[in-house]
Amino acid sequence: MALNRGFRNYFDWPLFITVAIIAVIGVVNLYSATSAPGARADIYIQQIYWLTLGAGVAVLIVAIDYRYYERHGWVAYGAGIVLLILVFLLGRTIRGSQRWIPIGGFSLQPSELMKIFLIIALAKYLHNDPKTDGRTLKDLVIPGLILAVPMGLILAQPDLGTAMICAFIFGTIMVLTNLKLRSLWALAVVFVASAPLTWTYLLRDYQRERLTAFLNPDDVLLDSGWHAHQSLVAIGSGQGFGKGFMQGTQNQFRFLPDQQTDFPFTVWAEEQGLIGTSVLIFLYLFLVLWGLKVAAQAKDRFGAVVAVGVSSLIFWHTVINIGMVSGLLPVVGVTLPLFSYGGSSVLTIMMGIGLLMNVSMRRFSF
C-alpha cells in the first residue's frame, strides 16, 4: 500500500546507490581479473546476467510487503532444508565437496540461499517470542535448533565457510535481540571449549591444512600458504595508487588463485591501490551501517531482525573475505558480496538487499 502511494518518496536511494556502485566496479574488476590468458574471459558477462536476475528477484521481493514473508517464514525455511538435502541426492562434487545442484547450464548453491531463509526463520521465531525481559540460555534452544539443522547439512557437504557465516549471523542476531550478557559469556565459553573438538572431529584434512598454513606462514609446502602470500604481495605492491586497470602483474601473470571468486578484492587492491581499497571498504562500511539504521528504524521486530540479519550477512562476508586475502584470517573461501563472481552468491545478496529495501521502505507504513 505504501508502495503504491509514493514509491519515489520511500525509495531508499542511499542503499540503492551504494549497492549499484559496488556491483558496477565489481563487474569492471572481474573483467580485469579474468583477462589473463587462459582464464574464463566471459565471466564478467555472466556476472552481469546474475546481477540482472538478482535485481529482478529483489524488485519482486520489494513489491510484496515483508509481513507476507513473516507469515510464510517456515515454508521458506522448509524449502531451504529440502534444497540442502537435494544437494546430497543430485549434487555435483567439485574439488572434494558436494555443494551444487545443476539446473540447466547453471548450478545452484542452496547453502547460499539458506542464509536468507535462516534469517527469515529466525526473524519469525523472534517476532513471535519476543522475551522482552532478556533471553536466557534456555531460550536459545529453539533458535539454536533452527540454526543447527541447516548448519549440520552444510558442514556435511563440507562447506566450512558458509556454515561459519550461518553461525555468525545467528550469533549477531541473538546478541542484538535481548540476549542476556550472562548467557553471552556462557556461549563464548562453550565456543572456546568446543574448538579442540571441532578441530579433531569436524574439520577435514584440507581445512586443517589451511588453518595450519595460516598459523605457520613460512611453512610454504602448503598451497594455501603460498596463495595467501601471493595475495599479500599483490595488495602490497598496489601501493597508494595501484598499478592501473588490467596492469596488475600478480593478477595478469596468474599468481592469484581463484581470482574471480575468493580473491577479487586482491585484484582490485593491486590495480587500484590504497585509494581503491579505501573507497571499497567505505562502501561496505556504509552498507552495513545503513542496514543497522534500517533495523533500528524498522516498524516491527520481524523487520528489525531481518535487517540485522542481512547487515550481519554482508558484514561477516566482507570482513572475512578481506581479512583472509590480507593475511589476517585463514583462507576459508568466503566470497566478497557483489564483488565475487558466483550466481548463487549474487542472488543471495540481492535477495538480502531486496529484504533490506523492503523493511526500509515500509517503516513509515503504519
Binding site: 522482552t132 542484538l176 613460512d218 597508494g240 598499478k243 596492469q247 562500511l285 552495513v288 543497522l292
Partner: protein
C-alpha cells in the same frame, strides 16, 4: 497492544544498535589499517617481491673454446650434460616426488635427500627452477623425457661440460675444469664468476682461462606463475630493466704446438716404467711438441665429481701423479749438464780441444777420493763426453770455476724459469759462491766440481734442459718454450698468432758447438758411447747425452717393502739429445725416475721416440746430409 510491545522491544534494541555500529566501525577501521600497512608502509618490499615474481634471469652460458693440437686434433671439447631442474611450486607434491624417484630409479638415500632439499626451498624461490641432479644417465634421461607430460615442474636441460677425448694423455699440459670455490671468487672478482661455474684448474685450461672462457650472456624475461615465458606482455609500471637480452660470447679456441700422435708415441715408449717424464721441443722455434709426465690421471675423471677417496689415492701415490714433472718439478740434471760445462770451457778458451786428462778411475780432493764411472785412461773432451768421464769434467771445472760455469748455464736458460706459461713453473737452481758461503759457511772446490757434473745443488726442469739442448743444436739461440700457437674464433678465424720468441743467445762460437755436437753424436753412435746400445740401426741419427743422477736418500715409511725402498733409492735415469744429428729438428729430454743408468733405461726411450717421430723424414735428411 502488540504494536506497542514491539515498539518497546525495538527501542531497547536501539541501545545495542549503537554498540553494534561501534563494533562495525572498529572492525572496518582495522581492515583499513591493514590496507594502509600493506599498501603504504610495506609497499616497497611487496613491490620488490612482485617484480621478482615475474622476472626471471636466464644465464646464457658461453661455450668454452675447444683446444686442439698442432694437427687440429681435438684435445678438449664440450659435450651436453643433462641436468634435472625442479620448480617446487609446480611439482605435484608427494605424488610428483614419487614419480621422479621412480623414473630416475633413485635409491632410498637419494630420494630422501631430494625430498629434504625440496622442503628446504624458501618461499620466494619456489617458483624458480632449481637444479637437483647433474649429468643424469641416458636411461634416466629417456625415462624423464618419455613421461615429461606427467611431470609438471620437472625440466631436463642440456648444459655443456668439458670432455677430453685423450683421457690421461697430456693431462698435466691440458689441465681440467672444476667448480669455482670461495677462494677463486675472492682472487678474481673482476672475472665475475658465479657459484656453480667452472674454472680451469691446471695446464692450459687454467693458464688460458680468460681466452677459453668467453663471456656469458644474460636474458631477463617475464614469466607467469607457472614459469612460462610471457614475451609479449609488459604491463605498465614494470621496470624496463626487467626485460633484456645480452648474447653470450663464445670462448676462443686454442691451437697448441703439441702433437698428440707424438704424445701417444712417448706414452708407448714409457711402457714398463711407472714414473718419469719427457719433453720434445722444436729446436728452431721452441715449440713444444710433447710434454709428458707419468703417471697421469684421467682428465674426464677430474672434470667430473672426483670422490675424496680417489683424490686421496692420487695424492698419496708414491709416483706423484698430481705433479707435472716436466715443468713444476726440478731435478739434479746429472751428466746431461756436462755439455754446458764443456761450452763454458771452450768458449772462454779456458782450454783448447787438445786438452787431455788421465782418468785413473778416481779423483782425490784433500783426503777424499771421488770415484769415476770406470777407468777411462787418457781422454780428451770428445771421448770424455762419449764415455761420460767425471774426472775429465772435474779437471775442467778446476780451471773454469763456478762463476764462469754459472754464467754459461744462465745463457742456456738454467736457473730461471723459461716462461712456458703453465703450471707454476720451477726456476731450477744454480748455486753461487755467495750462496755456498751463506749456506755452508765457506766455499770449497768440491762445490764447483759437483756443479760441473750436474749434481750437488744444481737443479733444472725438463723444459729447461730441452731448451738448452735445442740451443746447442741450433747454434746457440735460446727460444721460449711455446705451448700455444694461435687463438681462433669458433668459426676458424685466427685471432692471434704467436711467433717463436728468442729469449737469449749463448755466447759461444759456432765451431765450438759443432765440436760439442760431434761428441754428443759419439755418445749414441760410437761403440764406446754410453747410449750406443740405444741407437736405432739404420734409423734417425741421434746425438745426445746420458745421465745417471743420484737421488736424495728415501726415508722408509712403516710397512714399506724392501723392494720399494730399493726402488726409491735408485738413481734417476736421464737422456737429453736431439735429432737428426746432422740437421737437428727437435731436441728431447727423457727422465725415468729411479730408472738406474741413463744409457740403459732413458736413452732407448729417447731414441725410440725420435725414431717414431722422425722416422719418415730420416731418408730425406740423411741423403741430404750425405751430399754435404
Amino acid at each position: 497492544m502488540t504494536v506497542l510491545l514491539h515498539r518497546r522491544e525495538v527501542g531497547e534494541f536501539k541501545t545495542r544498535y549503537k554498540w553494534m555500529a561501534l563494533v562495525v566501525l572498529v572492525v572496518f577501521g582495522g581492515l583499513l589499517g591493514r590496507m594502509i600497512q600493506l599498501q603504504l608502509f610495506e609497499s616497497s618490499e611487496w613491490s620488490e617481491i612482485a617484480q621478482d615474481n615475474i622476472t626471471k634471469t636466464f644465464i646464457l652460458p658461453a661455450s668454452r673454446g675447444v683446444i686442439r693440437d698442432m694437427h687440429g686434433e681435438v684435445v678438449a671439447t664440450n659435450r651436453p650434460s643433462y641436468d634435472v631442474y625442479i620448480t617446487p611450486q609446480l611439482l605435484n607434491g608427494d605424488e610428483g616426488l614419487r614419480r621422479v624417484t621412480e623414473l630416475m630409479r633413485l635409491n632410498q638415500e637419494d630420494a630422501e635427500r631430494l625430498k629434504h632439499r625440496l622442503e628446504r626451498v624458501p618461499l620466494r624461490r619456489r617458483t624458480h627452477q632449481i637444479r637437483m641432479f647433474r649429468d643424469i644417465t641416458r636411461d634416466q634421461l629417456a625415462a624423464l623425457e618419455t613421461y615429461s607430460r606427467e611431470l609438471p615442474g620437472v625440466d631436463v636441460l642440456a648444459v655443456p661440460v668439458r670432455t677430453y677425448p685423450h683421457g690421461n694423455l697430456g693431462a698435466h699440459v691440458v689441465g681440467y675444469l672444476n667448480e669455482v670455490n670461495a677462494e677463486d671468487l675472492e682472487r678474481h672478482p673482476e672475472r665475475g664468476y658465479r657459484a656453480g661455474e667452472v674454472i680451469g684448474r691446471n695446464g692450459v685450461e687454467s693458464a688460458w682461462e680468460e681466452t677459453l672462457r668467453g663471456q656469458r650472456g644474460l636474458r631477463r624475461a617475464l614469466v607467469d606463475a607457472r614459469g612460462r615465458l610471457q614475451p609479449d606482455r609488459v604491463p605498465e609500471g614494470v621496470e624496463a630493466s626487467a626485460v633484456s637480452h645480452v648474447a653470450a660470447i663464445p670462448g676462443q679456441e686454442l691451437a697448441l704446438t703439441l702433437d698428440m700422435d707424438l704424445m701417444a708415441a712417448v706414452s708407448r715408449a714409457f711402457r714398463g716404467h711407472p714414473s718419469g717424464a719427457a719433453v720434445v721441443v722444436e729446436v728452431n722455434t721452441g715449440r713444444v711438441r710433447a710434454l709428458f709426465s707419468k703417471p697421469a690421471y684421467d682428465l674426464n675423471e677430474m672434470a667430473g665429481r672426483l670422490s675424496q677417496r680417489r683424490f686421496d689415492e692420487l695424492r698419496q701415490d708414491p709416483f706423484r701423479p698430481l705433479i707435472d714433472k716436466t715443468v713444476y718439478e726440478s731435478y739434479f740434471p746429472g751428466s746431461t749438464f756436462k755439455p754446458i760445462s764443456a761450452v763454458a770451457a771452450l768458449a772462454d778458451n779456458v782450454i783448447d780441444r787438445g786438452y787431455r786428462v788421465d782418468c785413473p778411475g778416481y779423483y782425490e780432493l784433500g783426503n777424499r777420493r771421488f770415484r769415476c764411472t770406470q777407468v777411462h785412461g787418457e781422454v780428451d773432451m770428445e771421448s770424455a763426453m762419449i764415455g761420460s768421464c767425471n774426472i775429465y769434467f772435474w779437471r775442467l771445472a778446476e780451471q773454469v770455476g763456478l762463476e764462469r760455469l754459472n754464467r754459461y748455464a744462465r745463457q742456456f736458460g738454467f736457473g730461471e724459469s723459461t716462461g712456458i706459461g703453465i703450471n707454476t713453473e720451477a726456476s731450477g737452481f744454480l748455486a753461487t759462491r755467495e750462496w755456498f758461503e751463506r749456506r755452508y759457511g765457506r766455499f770449497r772446490l768440491g762445490h764447483t766440481l759437483n756443479a760441473a757434473i750436474g749434481q750437488g745443488n744444481t737443479r733444472a726442469t725438463l723444459v729447461q734442459i730441452a731448451s738448452a739442448y735445442a740451443a746447442i743444436a741450433n747454434g746457440g739461440t735460446l727460444y721460449r718454450p711455446q705451448i700455444v700457437e694461435r687463438t681462433l674464433l669458433s668459426d676458424g678465424q685466427i685471432v692471434e698468432e704467436f711467433e717463436p720468441e728468442v729469449t737469449g743467445r749463448v755466447d759461444a762460437p759456432r765451431e765450438d758447438l759443432d765440436y760439442l755436437i760431434e761428441g754428443l753424436w759419439g755418445v749414441v753412435n760410437n761403440e764406446a758411447g754410453t747410449a750406443y746400445d740405444a741407437r736405432v740401426e739404420g734409423g734417425v741419427t741421434v746425438a745426445g747425452k746420458t745421465g745417471t743422477a743420484q737421488v736424495s736418500r728415501h726415508s722408509p715409511r712403516e710397512g714399506e717393502s724392501q723392494e720399494r725402498i730399493w726402488y726409491l733409492n735408485r738413481d734417476h735415469a736421464w737422456f737429453a739429445g736431439f735429432a737428426p744429428a746432422s740437421r737437428p729438428l727437435v731436441s728431447i729430454v727423457v727422465l725415468v725416475e729411479h730408472g738406474g743408468a741413463g744409457g740403459r733405461t732413458a736413452a732407448p726411450i729417447g731414441t725410440r721416440i725420435l725414431q717414431e717421430y722422425l722416422g719418415d723424414d730420416v731418408e730425406a735428411s740423411e741423403t741430404e746430409a750425405g751430399t754435404n
